[in-house]
């Protein structure tokens, strides 16, 4: 299914510490091929966000190697988009202008920015509050603006840090499906952090279960359901089996750790 191309993200024996704190990631090895949809799942504080921050070049590592698109993470940023764990909206811009921001920064023509941003806001169901400032939005709405903002960029590599955690199930499912539809069109690679096993199974072709203290890979689960995946997949027995498999791995991990 995945063409044999050089990996777009490659961790080799990477170790990460913040300052002189404890080891956060130990001997981390991971190769993500272009077009893969990889989910990270694991206990709180095990280093999932850290993995994304490393890939985006926002944080340096201590030992080992990491390349993104064959180069340093920092140099590959123009191919990436990052949906942070917090919405990180600029408080002085309306929802619409927050979504336009990355387009404007890329120098896109104003009319085009506006049109594109409107379209993305519609996709996340926020057309009606286009002119609201962030402080007028609910928690889930803020997160959706943030999602819209990242998706405008049509990136090659999308980093998503629990983007749907603050959303109700229905919206979440709908956005899951939208995400796969977008991916079908532009074939981006995704690194996806989530706490929902079902979501991970529905979206990914590979799930990495992480353990904590120090953060490390515990297990890897391949999910071979063909794309495009239909909502009905969620009801199938194979799907449930996969979910159970991942949940079991997760329980292993968490039972092994005290925190």
């Amino acid at each position: 299914m995945i063409p044999r191309l050089p990996p777009i993200v490659e961790f080799t024996a990477l170790q990460k510490r913040y300052g002189d704190g404890p080891v956060v990631l130990a001997d981390f090895n991971l190769a993500v091929a272009p077009g893969e949809f990889v989910s990270l799942i694991g206990p709180s504080g095990c280093g999932k966000s850290t993995v994304l921050k490393l890939v985006s070049g926002l944080s340096p590592w201590t030992q080992g190697e990491l390349t993104v698109a064959g180069t340093k993470p920092r140099l590959a940023r123009d191919r990436q988009a990052f949906i942070f764990q917090d919405a990180t909206l600029l408080p002085w811009l309306t929802a619409q202008l927050n979504v336009e921001l990355p387009l404007q920064l890329r120098g896109m023509a104003p009319a085009e920015c506006t049109a594109k941003a409107r379209q993305m806001l519609a996709l996340v169901g926020l057309e009606a509050v286009r002119d609201y400032y962030p402080r007028q939005l609910s928690g889930g709405m803020k997160m959706r603006v943030s999602i819209a903002r990242a998706l405008t960029l049509a990136p090659q590599l999308l980093l998503l840090d629990e983007p749907f955690g603050a959303l109700d199930e229905m919206t979440r499912n709908r956005l899951n499906e939208e995400l796969l539809a977008l991916r079908a069109r532009s074939m981006f690679t995704a690194l996806f952090v989530t706490h929902s096993v079902a979501e991970a199974v529905f979206l990914s072709n590979r799930i990495l279960v992480m353990a904590a203290h120090p953060g490390r890979l515990h297990a890897e689960v391949k999910v071979d359901f063909p794309y495009p995946r239909q909502p009905e997949l969620r009801g199938s027995a194979e799907f449930q089996a996969k979910v159970n498999e991942v949940s079991r791995l997760l329980h292993q991990v968490e039972e092994g750790s005290t925190v």
Binding site: S56, G57, L58, R77, D78, Q80, A81, F82, F84, D86, T88, L90, P91, W92, L101, P102, Q104, L105, R106, Y133, P134, R135
Partner: protein, 264 residues
């Protein structure tokens, strides 16, 4: 905080003002000070009325110097802080010299100023600028450096240039700091101009501004008129402060937490 009726916003300073005036009279009574040290408010107002023509002419003159210096400080201060915010290397190269400029007593520079800028208005504007410039730079720079690091990370992710990061992120985020700096500068500008008139002013053109009147009333021991001049200078300052307050409202009320609404 609870919302206050609009009326109270006006009544309270008046009430405290009355208290203040009462204390003032009290001080006069208790200490037996003469009006040539501390005139009463009434004496001051009477003097202001008596000297209204001189005061009006002078305040116009001083207003030009103060406004010129203030605008210059607002613009140049903004530019300087941008430079300082742009890179750490620039910051550590320039900041110490800015401090030197700020900390050099103006009197030492007066001959150079009156030579290069010329005496009269250009010199006055230069001195006003010198006096009100640094609070703006210091505040805006602190503001530019206080940007939320998550927002900075966002801009890094967009590969935004230093300049874009400054223009679209750091500057808007630092607006509360800039406006606090402007507020300080607004109160400094009129005294800066008066000081400037003292240093490089002359009375050419027939009027010499409030600085000249301060001198003139002082030597003539017209102390109530002197206080009336100070009052006029305060009124001038208030008009500057009012402009900054309006700006502050215009720039921040939509999004900043200093404009709390009761309604969360």
């Amino acid at each position: 905080m609870k919302k206050m009726p609009r009326l109270l916003v006006w009544l309270l300073p008046l009430a405290s003002g009355l208290l203040f005036v009462a204390i003032w009279y009290g001080v006069r009574l208790v200490t037996g000070l003469q009006s040539w040290i501390l005139p009463t408010p009434l004496e001051i107002i009477a003097a202001a009325w008596r000297e209204r023509q001189a005061l009006l002419a002078a305040v116009g003159h001083t207003a030009v110097g103060a406004a010129g210096g203030f605008l210059l400080a607002a613009v140049v201060g903004f530019g300087t802080a941008l430079l300082l915010g742009l890179s750490r290397a620039l910051r550590s190269s320039l900041y110490p010299w800015l401090l030197v400029l700020q900390m050099t007593p103006v009197i030492v520079l007066t001959p150079i100023i009156s030579l290069w800028a010329g005496p009269g208005l250009p010199g006055i504007i230069t001195i006003t600028w010198l006096i009100s410039y640094f609070p703006i730079v210091a505040n805006l720079t602190q503001g530019l450096l206080s940007t939320d690091r998550n927002h900075v990370a966002l801009f890094r992710m967009y590969n935004a240039s230093r300049f874009q990061e400054l223009r679209r992120l750091r500057v808007p985020a630092a607006m509360p700091y800039y406006l606090a700096g402007l507020r300080i500068a607004a109160t400094l500008a009129p005294i800066g101009a008066i000081f400037g008139e003292y240093m490089v002013g002359n009375s050419s053109g027939g009027t010499g501004g409030l600085g000249y009147l301060v001198y003139s009333y002082n030597t003539q021991i017209k102390i109530p008129a002197l206080f009336a001049t100070a009052l006029t200078s305060c009124l001038l300052g208030f008009s500057f402060v009012a402009v900054v307050a309006w700006l502050n409202w215009a720039v921040l009320h939509k999004w900043h937490d200093s404009f709390e609404r009761n309604d969360h």
